[in-house]
Amino acid sequence: MQFMLLFSRQGKLRLQKWYVPLSDKEKKKITRELVQTVLARKPKMCSFLEWRDLKIVYKRYASLYFCCAIEDQDNELITLEIIHRYVELLDKYFGSVCELDIIFNFEKAYFILDEFLLGGEVQETSKKNVLKAIEQADLLQEDKNAYCPRAFFLYVASTDAIGCPGGSWLFMKPCCYGHS
């Protein structure tokens, strides 16, 4: 895999992970181009598309798009399930994850991703093993006073500039599990 992007329906980038060396300028260009391309696609269209010399695999969960760029010989369907397993990991960790969790706890989203994928390859597919690593870290949490339990009051108070609450649970709609 060459990179993974998470962005909202409004085109706001929520997470970016690059597995190939690119300049910041290039990253921004790619992001802009892909966000535009993917958002323009209709719901029932196929989840794969050719883009430059890469294959793009994407899937939407509630308000969030998960989008991976893979190489020619890579397997599209298994990439789709990489995305799904990542969403499951987030969901398990946060407990019914929503876009706001990823915004407010972006560092956690990165840590979980690093345990799951490393250098663009699947490192560990067992949910238990991935989360064990992250939860261990949480147990090591030292400063209990600074601890901020899932800042729900902040979530609710906050809205995007465009007014999107971004609070829908990624797994709320049944269509996210079943086929669409």
Binding site: C46, F94, E107, T125, G178
Partner: protein, 978 residues
């Protein structure tokens, strides 16, 4: 319910993020960010030492700001400090910051590497993993240099934790991809292969990726992985759906690992060991069988995971391309998917079938799905799926279904998405040519293409149809008739006019007998389109008109009338004006015989790979044309589709000027078309740029040599070339050569290309090639000013007896040279006998009203006609002795003018033209050469010896030739070079 973030939520960070989200405008956001940056900066600079938590919080805020798309230029040091914290969460944030904001600041890298080194040595697995993640995320060369040697050790160490091994494997993979040279192969590689047997599935999952990458470069070192991979795969495939516990995904056992193992096997040919192969084939069959079983879950994740393995299995089967049974089963399975309700599966099935179509075992099986695929092309709602369907039709096309597929693609073209029209056009054009049983069908197809999607028909496509029609006389009459009919349409595409104009100009006579398409009708039909066309097309039509005058004398008066019209003769476009003037003159001056010769039918084009195919490949990237490339499944297809084959009756010396298509790939950098003079006009009809000019193309060396033969007399270029008699301006008084002319000439004794002359107005470049007694020279005249040169006339003069020694043919160049422009002049040179003085080049022009004149020596010296001769020492000395008469030898002892460098000397001697003979002279410091001067009348054998004396900084040069004058002349020429 939310297990509440067990995390170490940082309240200050959450508040900041919330603030940002509440900003109502971009400006407000920037303002808030700047405020925060100022705050963080002051904290970092403050006297009070920050505690770890605060540092972590601020570093995290900076990271957030960076990820929003803003630049961050501080905080790196604080992040590095966090790396050495012994609190896990602080270290973690430090590493995250470093991973995202890599900075090549060398001081920092040293500190970072230090921290990583400490963590790797800490024997604390969580710290080790963090450090490995950081290396893998950054993946820079500096990190590779620091750690590439340590990581293999960690990977195979017996006491490494599983999670550490996993991270180490993928970390090493990333480093290997970035800088393979840094990762040393060695004893550890064998142990890595054995990780395939590891008990921990996660370790295997990570290790397979590493092995797959390594074995691509060193297949032999990793060969043992085949049997290990097969047995691992076999265990997974045959396990019950719950055996693997957490590694089972929606009832599918270890899908990621299975896919990776199947990928690994695709790096190798089928296993040689029969037992291993048997076991593998069993696995593949099991996967195919499972596809037919009812699903264990309705969740899409179940079917995706299962089908991911299935598609990877099919890829492996296609890769092996040796099990007909499996290939056909794979094809049938894909056939089912073609009608699946999941768009994703239809897409993948179409894609995968494309590769199956190129296997001889499954090609027929793929073809049975043609109707489904055609239906997909018509009904799929997603353009990317339709594109796959078009690709598959292209791949499955052969002689038996070409007509159906081409007509379906043509129909699709009428409604196709703009984005893929050009590609469809190229595909149709290629299929129509490749599988044409009769060429009338081919012509119809291309004309249909132009009619339906004229805008998307690129030059390559319509050039190609003209090439084919020109080369095949059995289709010319049909082409003329069809194109004539197509032009009747009230609105036809300009590309149709181009094709029509060219074909009628060449073959209009074949349909002229029919009163409905009599010459005047043909002409008025074409001319009715004239005014609506672009300059390039109108230029082409003018050439058609002059051809009409030749083919149909009855149209002469009408056409001359058209050419004479003010709108042509005084056209603002130089090209059109020039054509009108020249054609009008040609038609009134030349006799019918001359006209007929000049405007003879175009000779056949040389055979070559279709440039359309090349274009499609460029468009689609490598492998696009693979299904068609070699026709390996259709070995008997060489009859009429193997390319453009000239019909035997018309085979003749291909005119160099007809080399139209190949040259377009890389237009030469010089010479606008105007410079080519009238000669190229007729053959230049295709080109609107300089591309059609021969021999200055991308490989001047090759092109040059092939053209050194005098142009075939029947070639239109030679006829219109207007060879200027060599001595014609001799009567005029020529100014003497400029003082530095000799010096300039000397620069070219040992080289053929370069700048001959340059002043503030004019630059003259030379490019030349010689073979035997022939030479061709290109002179490039560059106007360095911004003002047009007028009455520009360069001429070559042969003073005195040179006229009998050297023949130089020049072509006239345009009399105006625009400011900043460059024109080119071609000289054909023939050496009749040995000569001593070079020809003169006289350049005259008017610049700003003032006449300018300049005379140079043309860099043609007798040594240019050297043919190097290799000989043994014995032969050399024998000949040396034979040339022992005093007048045969010339010798010169002279001081070195340049540093005495053996390599430079060698290069100069080779440039001079003689062969350099090694191991002849007993003194290895000396140089010995031999060659023959080729002239039309005689050959002069030459031997030379150059003895450098480094101490004295002197040379002694000795020349022995069969002719006294030559010996002395060569000696003079060469002595000035050192």
């Amino acid at each position: 319910m939310p297990a509440v973030s067990k995390g170490d939520g940082m309240r200050g960070l959450a508040v900041f993020i919330s603030d940002i989200r509440n900003c109502k405008s971009k400006e407000a956001e920037i303002k808030r960010i700047n405020k925060e940056l100022a705050n963080i900066r002051s904290k970092f600079k403050g006297d009070k030492a920050l505690d770890g938590y605060s540092k972590k919080k601020y570093v995290c805020k900076l990271l957030f700001i960076f990820l929003l798309g803003h630049d961050i230029d501080f905080g790196h040091m604080e992040a590095v400090n966090l790396l050495s914290s012994n609190k896990y969460t602080e270290k973690q944030i430090g590493y995250l910051f470093i991973s995202v904001l890599v900075n090549s600041n060398s001081e920092l890298i040293r500190l970072i590497n230090n921290a990583i080194k400490n963590d790797l040595a800490s024997r604390n697995p969580t710290f080790m993993c963090l450090a490995l993640h950081c290396i893998a995320n950054v993946g820079s060369r500096e990190m590779g240099e620091a750690f590439a040697a340590d990581i293999p050790r960690i990977l195979v160490a017996g006491d490494s934790m599983d999670s550490v091994k996993q991270s180490a494997a993928l970390c090493l993979l990333r480093l290997y991809k970035a800088s393979p040279d840094l990762v040393p192969m060695g004893e550890w590689t064998a142990r890595v292969v054995h990780l395939l047997n590891d008990q921990h599935m996660g370790v295997v999952t990570a290790a397979v990726s590493l092995i797959t990458c390594l074995c691509k470069k060193n297949p032999d070192d990793f060969k043992t992985c085949i049997s290990l991979a097969v047995s691992r795969l076999s265990r997974i495939v045959s396990s019950a759906s719950t055996d693997l516990q957490d590694y089972t995904y929606y009832f599918v056992p270890a899908p990621w690992l299975s896919v990776k193992l199947l990928r690994l096997l695709q790096c190798y040919p089928p296993p040689e060991d029969a037992a291993v192969k048997g076991r593998l084939v069993e696995c593949l069959e099991t996967v195919l069988n499972k596809a037919q079983e009812p699903p264990k879950s309705k969740k899409v994740q179940h079917s995706n995971a299962k089908n991911a393995i299935l598609f990877e299995t099919i890829s492996l089967i296609i890769h092996y391309d040796s099990e007909p049974n499996l290939l056909v089963r794979a094809c049938n399975q894909l056939g089912q998917f073609l009608q699946h309700r999941e768009t994703n599966l239809r897409y993948l099935a179409l894609e995968s079938m494309c590769t199956l179509a190129s296997s001889e075992f499954s090609h027929e099986a793929v073809k049975t799905h043609i109707d489904t695929v055609i239906n997909a092309l018509k009904t799929e709602r997603d353009v990317s799926v339709r594109q796959r369907a078009a690709d598959l039709l292209y791949a499955m096309c052969d002689r038996s279904n070409a007509k159906q597929i081409v007509s379906e693609m043509l129909r699709y073209l009428e409604t196709a998405d703009y984005a893929i029209r050009e590609e469809i056009v190229l595909k149709v054009a290629i299929l129509a040519e490749k599988y044409a049983v009769d060429y009338s069908w081919y012509v119809d197809t291309i004309l249909n293409l132009i009619r339906i999607a004229g805008d998307y028909v690129s030059e390559e496509v319509w050039y190609r149809v003209l090439q084919i029609v020109t080369n095949r006389d059995d289709v010319q009459g049909y082409a003329a008739k069809t194109v004539f009919e197509a032009l009747q349409a009230p609105a036809c595409h300009e590309n149709m006019v181009k094709v029509g104009g060219y074909i009628l100009g060449e073959f209009g006579n074949l349909i002229a007998g029919d009163p409905r398409s009599s010459p005047p009708v043909q002409f008025s039909l074409l001319h009715s389109k004239f005014h609506l066309c672009s300059v390039a097309t109108r230029a082409l039509l003018l050439s058609t008109y002059i051809k009409f005058i030749n083919l149909f004398p009855e149209t002469k008066a009408t056409i001359q009338g058209v050419l004479r019209a003010g709108s042509q003769l005084r056209n603002a476009d130089v090209e059109l004006q020039q054509r009108a003037v020249e054609y009008l003159t040609l038609s009134s001056v030349a006799s019918t015989d001359v006209l007929a010769t000049v405007l003879e039918e175009m000779p056949p084009f040389p055979e070559r790979e279709s440039s359309i195919l090349a274009k499609l490949k460029r468009k689609k990237g490598p492998g696009a044309g693979s299904a068609l490339d070699d026709g390996r499944r259709d070995p008997s297809s060489n009859d009429i589709n193997g390319g453009v084959e000239p019909t035997p009756s018309t085979v003749s010396t291909p005119s160099p000027s007809a080399d139209l298509l190949g040259l377009r790939a890389a237009p030469p950098p010089v010479a606008p078309p105007a410079a080519a003079g009238a000669g190229n006009l007729l053959v230049d009809v295709f080109s609107d740029g300089p591309a059609a000019q021969p021999s200055l193309g991308p490989t001047p060396e090759e092109a040059f040599l092939s053209e050194l033969e005098p142009p075939a007399p029947e070639s239109p270029m030679a006829l219109l070339a207007d060879p200027a008699p060599a001595a014609d301006p001799g009567a005029e008084d020529i100014s003497p050569p400029i003082p530095e002319a000799d010096e300039l000439l000397n620069k070219f004794v040992c080289k053929n290309n370069g700048v001959l002359f340059e002043n503030q107005l004019l630059q003259i470049g030379v490019k030349s090639e010689f073979r035997q007694n022939l030479g061709r020279m290109y002179l490039f005249y560059g106007n360095k000013t911004s003002v047009q040169f007028q009455n520009f006339s360069p001429t070559v003069i042969h003073p005195g007896e040179l006229q009998t020694q050297l023949a130089v043919q020049t072509k006239r160049v345009a009399a105006q040279v625009d400011g900043g422009a460059q024109v080119q002049q071609v000289l054909n040179i023939e050496c009749l006998r040995d000569f001593l003085t070079p020809p003169l080049l006289s350049v005259r022009f008017r610049y700003g009203g003032a006449p300018q004149a300049l005379t140079l020596k043309l860099p043609v010296t007798v040594n240019k006609f050297f043919q190097p001769t290799e000989m043994t020492a014995q032969d050399f000395f024998q000949r040396w002795k034979q040339l022992s008469l005093p007048q045969q030898e010339a010798q010169k002892i002279f001081k070195a003018n340049h540093p005495m460098d053996a390599e430079v000397t060698k290069a100069k001697l080779l440039g001079f033209g003689s062969a350099l003979l090694d191991n002849v002279d007993p003194n290895p410091e000396n140089f010995v050469g031999a060659g023959i001067i080729q002239t039309k009348a005689l050959q002069v054998g030459c031997l030379l010896r150059l003895e450098p004396n480094a101490q004295a900084q002197m040379y002694r040069l000795t020349l022995r030739t069969s002719k006294e004058t030559v010996s002395h002349h060569l000696c003079e020429l060469l002595a000035q070079q050192f």
